[in-house]
């Protein structure tokens, strides 16, 4: 039987002293090794859900278990996040002054997973894995959108995380690059066995995942068959 890697039990999240309810009692289980997507219109709570699963924030109420650990019991979210979660953002969010190699090294600073002297070697290997061996020493301004996102993907893998969260990963690239990126994510999911959660508006991207969860008004309203999105 599949092992749950993320479990949300009646999770709520409100802002401005309860005036805005972004999540209203969300229940969801995500299993180890899954490649799944979360779809929904703007303001439906996708990003809030992503922030909670990414341990960037804590739920207002309810339980959120990541890799078997209840987030309410975690004291140091920074350390927890660096060890368990890899992030891929729509706008890449690379540090502009650092080279591709240095950007990939960033998450390894405080995780305690990688020895300082091994950081560079590991970052180099990850960039080779995503096909950027010739761009290792380039700064982000000298990379195309697709290349920047591949650097971000390599960076998300730096600490061998249990979960990789991708927020609209193809939102800033053309359709050809978008297709190539989703293939890369699929390959990583299969080769590394990491759970991949993609938040997207794009039905074509969602269709490439194994499971599609739909959200509306801070709640999960159901699941869709990915193939049905292509019709």
């Amino acid at each position: 039987m599949a092992t749950p890697v993320v479990e949300l039990r009646n999770v709520t999240k409100s802002f401005i002293e309860g005036e805005v309810q972004a999540l209203r009692g969300v229940n969801l289980t995500i299993y180890k090794g899954e490649l799944m997507s979360i779809m929904g219109p703007s303001g439906c709570g996708k990003s809030t859900l992503l922030n909670l699963v990414g341990a960037l924030d804590r739920p207002t109420s309810g339980d959120l278990l990541i890799d078997g650990v209840n987030l309410n019991d975690v004291e140091n979210l920074d350390l927890f996040r660096s060890r368990k979660i890899g992030f891929i953002f729509q706008a890449f969010f690379l540090v502009p002054t650092l080279t591709a190699l240095e950007n990939v090294e960033i998450p390894m600073f405080d995780s305690g997973f990688v020895l300082p002297q091994e950081k560079t070697q590991k970052a180099r290997q990850l960039l080779i894995d995503v096909g950027l061996e010739k761009k290792i020493n380039q700064v982000p301004t000298r990379l195309s959108g697709g290349e920047k996102q591949r650097v971000a993907i390599a960076r998300s893998l730096a600490n061998d995380p249990a979960i990789i969260l991708a927020d609209e990963p193809t939102g800033n690239v053309d359709s050809k690059t978008s297709h190539m990126l989703i293939e890369l994510l699929r390959r990583i999911n299969q080769e590394k066995g990491a759970t991949l959660i993609v938040v997207t508006h794009d039905p074509l991207i969602a269709a490439a995942t194994d499971r599609v969860v739909q959200m509306l008004d801070g709640q999960i309203i159901g699941e869709k068959d990915p193939k049905s999105l292509l019709k």
């Binding site: 922030n51 960037l56 924030d57 920074d78 660096s82 992030f87 190699l101 240095e102 090294e105 600073f109």
Partner: protein
């Protein structure tokens, strides 16, 4: 990659801003370095002069200032001092400020012919004055050079003409930039008959200094007998110069810290989202603080090092001015350089603390949303 590489790249991102901050700090540190080195040089010169005169005790008015110029004593006091046992010699001196040619503030020493002070002068050209009443003057080498006069020439002192009979060279800047006439001639010139500013006392046995000092002060309650060190420490000019350099250092610390803080705050505001990314990728608050503090300290230390050179350059520049030539003798000590670097370090720490704290407190979710 190590953190310091990131720090360096962050500083190079806004080169002009970083350079301007460094220059701002350097100007402040330079001001401290030049001022303190000149003060130290002055104190050192003062000490040298007192020691060079070979006197063990200097007599000044009790409760008055240990100031050569402002101190006034009756010349007759000398006879009372000479009655005290254990003294080898008592020499009267007068110091005043006079206009020499077109130079308004020149120190003029009035020394007794045959006394300790004049016997220790190192004459490099000419000789000593021949009579206590003649209009003769010995010039310090720096003053002679700046007046462009030599032995045999005449110079105007307080609108009276004096013949230059000798040029002397001293290890201290004060005497080098001064003129020396006989005590009696100076009393007449400055209209202070029967007055002197200090007495220099040489002891038969210098180890008796504490006892003799006590005896002088008991017998003559209106005067103080100061050792060379005390005379230097008690000097109003020295005290003022030291207080001034401390005051300037504090102002530099404050202004420098504010300038650094401003730069660092701007840098943190600009990088709000980037700091959020670093936090999202697992950087601890402590590492963010460390990064911003290092940036601030690198800026201030660069400013400190540049400031030292700037300060030394400023002293050289001051010496190029005709009016100041030879009168400024800066003293550079390891202590001064350490003080400059510590000052720079302090203002880097003070300037970086608040921005670093703010940067580390940015919630990653908010920071990532920041446009």
């Amino acid at each position: 990659m190590v953190l310091v590489q990131i720090v360096w790249k962050n500083l190079l991102r806004r080169k002009i801003r970083s350079v301007l901050t460094v220059v701002g700090i350097a100007v402040g540190i330079g001001a401290v370095v030049s001022l303190v080195s000149i003060t130290d040089g002055f104190v050192h010169g003062w000490k040298n002069m007192i020691k060079g005169h070979g006197v063990d005790l200097t007599i000044v008015k009790a409760g008055g200032e240990a100031n050569f110029v402002l101190n006034t004593l009756d010349e007759s006091l000398g006879d009372q001092l000479r009655q005290i046992k254990g003294l080898d010699s008592v020499t009267e001196t007068m110091v005043d400020i006079a206009t020499v040619e077109d130079k308004p503030s020149i120190m003029i020493f009035g020394y007794t012919l045959g006394g300790d002070y004049i016997n220790r002068l190192k004459i490099v050209n000419g000789g000593l004055f021949t009579s206590k009443d003649k209009d003769e003057i010995i010039l310090g080498s720096v003053l002679a050079k700046s007046l462009k006069v030599t032995v045999g020439d005449e110079v105007e002192v307080e609108r009276e003409l004096f013949t230059v009979v000798g040029i002397c060279e001293s290890s201290n800047i004060l005497e080098n930039g001064a003129g020396i006439v006989s005590l009696q001639r100076l009393q007449k010139l400055m209209n202070r008959p029967g007055k002197v500013t200090t007495f220099g006392i040489r002891l038969q046995n210098p180890s008796q200094l504490p006892e003799i000092k006590k005896e002088i002060e008991t017998r003559l309650p209106n005067i103080s007998a100061l050792s060379s060190q005390e005379f230097v420490d008690e000097n109003e000019g020295v005290k003022m110069a030291q207080a001034l350099s401390w005051g300037i250092s504090l102002i530099v610390l404050l202004v420098g810290a504010i300038a650094t803080m401003n730069t660092m705050f701007m840098s943190v505001f600009e990088r709000t989202r980037e700091i959020g990314i670093l936090r999202a990728l697992g950087w601890r608050k402590g590492r963010i603080i460390n990064m911003i503090m290092q940036e601030s300290i690198v800026l201030s230390l660069c400013g400190g090092v540049l400031g030292i050179f700037l300060g030394m350059g400023a002293v050289r520049m001051l010496n190029l001015f005709r009016q100041l030539r030879g009168l400024i003798q800066a003293e550079y000590t390891t202590f001064l350089f350490s003080e400059a670097i510590i000052l720079a370090l302090l203002l880097g720490i003070l300037g970086g603390l608040l921005p670093a704290w703010r940067g580390s407190r940015l919630p990653p979710v908010e920071a990532l949303r920041y446009e």
